[in-house]
């Protein structure tokens, strides 16, 4: 007898639907779709959109955990729909747009706030020394790369914002991913932009809104560990503060 590796099942989905064209609150709708065990939640949503309800709206692009666009709440947890496997969800699967963000339509969260914050922290290389092409490339040793590599893995999926209660409570908080990316460039040996970034992240709305809940690191699909980045920014900003004030007392 042959072992059947790919089983089929009927999967019940409860999806939060919101239509901005019609006044009213988002409502959970129930659907049942035929699925295969090795599907991810995104496959089930695609089946639903292609075969049952073409108006269902959600974001996705890569289907392989690199574009960061399919973040949603799956049974209350922030997850990438393309990484959440159906076999890990035996019962009804409740799918909602990412927490803490406004809802644009159905499962689409409004990302404007995060994108504006990302821009503010200058997440790009601000070269320490200006080099012309004829001067050759910026060189970096493997040890220097390791200093920031983990923080460079972020795919801007915003799962950490949906997990962070402090972001939910104070929407002005610059938040885990943006501060981690600022930290990623601050730790880059080729970069000289830390002072500019500190003006944004060493503020009350920046790293000091963080109370080290640690939820961001638990949900991050790329093991960026934003909570670690933020604690390191706090330590460095504290050293800065004592040095700046001590220096100005010494000079008086």
């Amino acid at each position: 007898m042959m072992d059947v590796r790919v089983a089929e099942r009927q999967t019940d989905l409860e999806i939060l639907r919101y239509n901005p064209e019609i006044a009213g609150e988002p409502k959970l709708e129930r659907y049942t779709v035929p699925t295969k065990t090795e599907w991810c939640v995104l496959d089930a949503l695609n089946y639903l959109k292609d075969n049952v309800d073409p108006t269902l709206t959600y974001r996705w692009s890569c289907h392989m955990q690199v574009c960061g666009s399919c973040g949603m709440m799956i049974n209350g947890e922030p997850k990438l729909a393309c990484k959440a496997m159906l076999r890990d969800y035996p019962g009804v699967i409740r799918i909602e747009p990412l927490a803490h963000f406004p809802v644009e339509r159905d499962l689409v969260a409004v990302a404007d706030d995060f994108l504006a914050k990302l821009k503010r922290v200058k997440p790009y290389l601000i070269p320490l020394e200006k080099r012309l092409p004829e001067d050759g490339e910026y060189r970096q040793t493997p040890a220097q790369l390791k200093r920031y590599r983990q923080f460079a893995m972020c795919i801007n999926c915003m799962l950490c914002y949906a997990a962070c209660p402090e972001y939910g409570l104070h929407p002005k908080f610059i938040g885990p991913a943006a501060i981690s990316l600022a930290h990623r460039y601050n730790r880059d040996s080729r970069d000289g932009g830390r002072d500019e970034r500190q003006e944004e992240i060493a503020t009350a709305e920046g790293v000091w809104e963080c109370t080290f809940v640690g939820a961001c690191s638990e949900v991050c699909p790329k093991h960026v560990d934003p909570a670690a980045a933020l604690q390191q920014v706090k330590v460095a900003s504290t050293v800065d503060w004592y040095l700046e004030h001590f220096m100005s007392w010494v000079q008086k």
Binding site: P20, P26, H100, V103, G214, A215, D225, K234
Partner: protein
């Protein structure tokens, strides 16, 4: 294009019931109530100590009642919880790079646990427990 984003409010008073990890976080924060009160008890004890032998011995005698036993028992449990959460996350704030490699978290956390064990034994020996 007009947009009508729907905002879901977060409850400022009950948000932490939403996920177990939030409850674990709040437990860690609540340790400050117990350790804070214990710190005040230490201050009062030191103050009685500065007043002389009789007031200090009265202070020790006053501790001997069911309420303070229950409180201190809870304070001990919360202090232990605080210590574990603190040591487990200590490596995050201070990454150590030796040569090319970043030290695994377990090394820094383990260092804290060892120091904790040594200090606790030193305190207990000093107090004549062993």
């Amino acid at each position: 294009m007009s947009r009508y984003p729907y905002v879901r409010e977060v409850s400022p008073t009950t948000w932490y019931f939403r996920a177990p990890r939030y409850m674990r976080y709040m437990t860690r924060e609540v340790t400050s109530i117990f350790i804070g009160i214990f710190t005040v008890i230490m201050l009062v004890g030191l103050s009685r100590l500065s007043e002389g032998q009789a007031p200090y011995e009265d202070f020790l005698a006053a501790l001997n009642n069911p309420f303070s036993v229950i409180f201190l028992f809870l304070a001990l449990a919360f202090a232990l919880y605080n210590s574990f959460t603190w040591f487990n996350v200590a490596p995050k704030a201070m990454p150590i790079q030796v040569g090319e490699e970043l030290m695994p978290d377990i090394v820094v956390a383990g260092g804290h646990y060892i120091l904790w064990a040594i200090l606790s034994v030193v305190i207990l020996i000093w107090a004549g427990i062993f």
